[in-house]
Symmetry: C2
Subunit: 529 residues, 2 copies
Amino acid sequence: MPGNWIKTGGLAMSEMIKNAAGRLVPSEINGKKVVPYMGVGKYKPDGRKYGPPVASCADYPDDGNKLSASLKDALIKAGLKDGMVISTHHHFRNGDLVANQVFDIAKELGVKGLVWFPSASFPCHAHLIPYLEDGTIHHIEGSMNGPLGRFASEGKMKGVGVLRSHGGRYQAIQDGDVRIDIAVIAAPTADSFGNATGDRGPAACGLLGFALGDSQYAEKVVIVTDNLVPFPCIPWQIHGNYVDYVVKQDKIGIPEKIISGTTQITKSPDRLLIAELTAKFCEAAGIVKDGFSFQAGAGGTALSIGIYFQQMMREKGVKARFIRAGSNQYTVKMLEEGLTDYILDGQTFDLEGVRSMRENANHVNTSPFTSYNYHGKGNFASMVDVVVLGATEVDLDFNANVVTHSDGYLLHGIGGWQNCLFSKCTILPIPLFRDRIPVIVDEVTTLCGPGELIDVIVTERGIAINPRRTGLIEKVADSGLPLKTIQQLKEEAESICGIPEKAQFTDKIIAAIKWVDGTVIDVVRQVRR
Amino acid sequence: MPGNWIKTGGLAMSEMIKNAAGRLVPSEINGKKVVPYMGVGKYKPDGRKYGPPVASCADYPDDGNKLSASLKDALIKAGLKDGMVISTHHHFRNGDLVANQVFDIAKELGVKGLVWFPSASFPCHAHLIPYLEDGTIHHIEGSMNGPLGRFASEGKMKGVGVLRSHGGRYQAIQDGDVRIDIAVIAAPTADSFGNATGDRGPAACGLLGFALGDSQYAEKVVIVTDNLVPFPCIPWQIHGNYVDYVVKQDKIGIPEKIISGTTQITKSPDRLLIAELTAKFCEAAGIVKDGFSFQAGAGGTALSIGIYFQQMMREKGVKARFIRAGSNQYTVKMLEEGLTDYILDGQTFDLEGVRSMRENANHVNTSPFTSYNYHGKGNFASMVDVVVLGATEVDLDFNANVVTHSDGYLLHGIGGWQNCLFSKCTILPIPLFRDRIPVIVDEVTTLCGPGELIDVIVTERGIAINPRRTGLIEKVADSGLPLKTIQQLKEEAESICGIPEKAQFTDKIIAAIKWVDGTVIDVVRQVRR
């Protein structure tokens, strides 16, 4: 329905345009023009990277000491004012003690209309809901996991949320789609010059890669640490040469919540079956061979797949070139056992991961720039042999949803999910249904990943290969694996659960989903209750 | 003489302006407007960092393989054409086999008017003189050590050379003063994606920091290696995400010339005395204490000073926080012995330095960005407690020259020299005369470093402290060291050698000397013969 007009953030009215995926998306979001999704690899940027202001050493202390008395002091010096874009990062996950403080201070100072640009938000950030209500924060650009997503889905956020993948977030910063006024980077260890690392200190989280782009491109950068060391803080995952102010606090994170404890192997028989089928599929497809690479997620099923890989590799005498992690005790063990040359780590999930990164030069910290930025001269997501990812819904054309549930609520971020779809083989190991709701649907509630990039669906009742992947279909044809069409899987689920009612929405757009190139692939609407 | 006009590269006529150091400099160089030097810390940039074009992964191979058939092939694909700015780097010093090839190819293709933008040039690049003569290369922006400097000093280069410090080179790239069309980076080890490292491989040189800015900001980046490894090349000192093409060759450097062999402790009694006096001065001034830092040069005198420091530190039971290097076997030994926590290394000078950097996480590779960029939010040069530097001439106001000899010939680059002047204490340990030519003069031939940044001159016949450094003068007043005024030292030299004749110049400007902030501090003129 081109020619449709809709409210998209504040008073702005925006024309609705059908994008290349057939989704209706607005031409403007929060008053800014956006480009509708044009297909995988179709949108070609023609601009230049964003250029932050040129600084001068003459404006910074010769002795390198950038310590400010407090976070409030630093934010005032950084010029905090109405309408600014403020970024924070999710290295501490649900144990973050810094982001909430930033907006407590903004509230105290009477600053309004801020855009919060986190690399992800967690339930601990439900603290910010009053600020979304009173206008301290206008809207969030970033994932809204749990309570913030529910708040947005109920139509209560003043602006429209913008969700990006980790790579898309770097792209947006680099290209100047989002111009960060103040980046606040919580750092487990830092020096007074602003060099910072995540691999040591009381709030050790491993790496600070999600803040790399912010440090490079933000107008002002504030480091907050509870472990100040003399210059130089080595490794300098974040370079002090990008930093304006350093703040020392007593405690910046809750260690037991930073290390999230999601790294438990699944005990569910169905999940174990899915993991086993996934691993066997990779073996049958000839993926598990010397020098291969795989991405290991941190969820229960993904972890179990890793364990199966490990067994296979030992049996075959095969060594991986690299594991793309989410590291944890299991991947670290593989590195130390010599089952892989490298871990290329985007995010450490337990203390063994942190220790290994600190001690082992072959446990490499990566960033969304190296791993995921689609507006680079390549990135390594496309070089990974196989990735396993989750999804809330998949449709008959293999399109997938990872942000909304079938009830329409926006409850998850995109994370690196969209970026990982570019791997050589993308597998979604998912249960056929959850709480008696089938996962395979006619049309996904929210389109996050185009079906052409999703190769295989593995469920407890069979494996469906994307018909576009004729080579893959041939390779496993005689494997004895339970191969089915995606239609068969869908019918099987519906024969058990019935066909669920569709979620109901109002016309109001509450969030936009960006594709890895910054175009709008879909929108999320307010849930009708 | 404002109002003077002079030819400054090609046909351009330029007004001459007296800068804050009292030197006459042109308003334009090679047809581009320049800013005259305004004093230390006085020029405040108001622009934005340069934004190279936004790339898209859609234009790069999914499997990450960017191999080109040959360097010629890569240069053609990179669009090599008349007038482009081409950068190369001096990690291989006089053993470089890559830069000359680039211009052999340009000559073969009939490309004209190139600007060569090396991080430094060496005698091996005298090979390029015919290309400077026939117009393949219009001019050089970078140091012109030895034969190329002589060629320029004789007025034979078509354009005006521009000399920058290592930090100034990064600043120029970052700020867009120099826009690199094609960066050719010779890399001792690389993968086909373009990740590259200098710390291993047949042509191992340690690090690739001088090419960092080029990789970040050049339109096209070519990696040339003789040691191709499977992805990922770890460490990735240069990120493949910035790289367009990778070329594999049989041999990119001559190992025995890469590791320059300059790391011999001086045997000259005069030089040893200068080294001893310098070390004693630092002790008397209270600089050699727990947690201090020093920069260790690679020349014979500087090395000897390092040895004296080492002895003092052992005797006093003192440990340095970091050594700023130029690493070599001596600094590595200090790190391994526990006499310093870190080596912050800008350039490795022997194979022990390379080994240490490869093996020891506390031997940190740095770049002109972290160390020297004056248009950053600070850099660590100003945090070093003491640096020792050379000079060809010093005047009575402590201004120093490091690029021309007293005969007027431009024979040296600036290197990190200007950047290091920002240390807390800058000492020039220099002989009172060389070849019977006094080093202390009324006015330096070429002004490279303002006297206000130079604290101490140490000669074999006495030590002169800059009168501006009253605190320092007090500290060593009772030390028993042979303290003199710089006038006294000058007179002493002249009483031995006489007053030498001044070099004679034509009006023609053959090179400009940039200050760390991109302003023009002085020019070099053609030598009259």
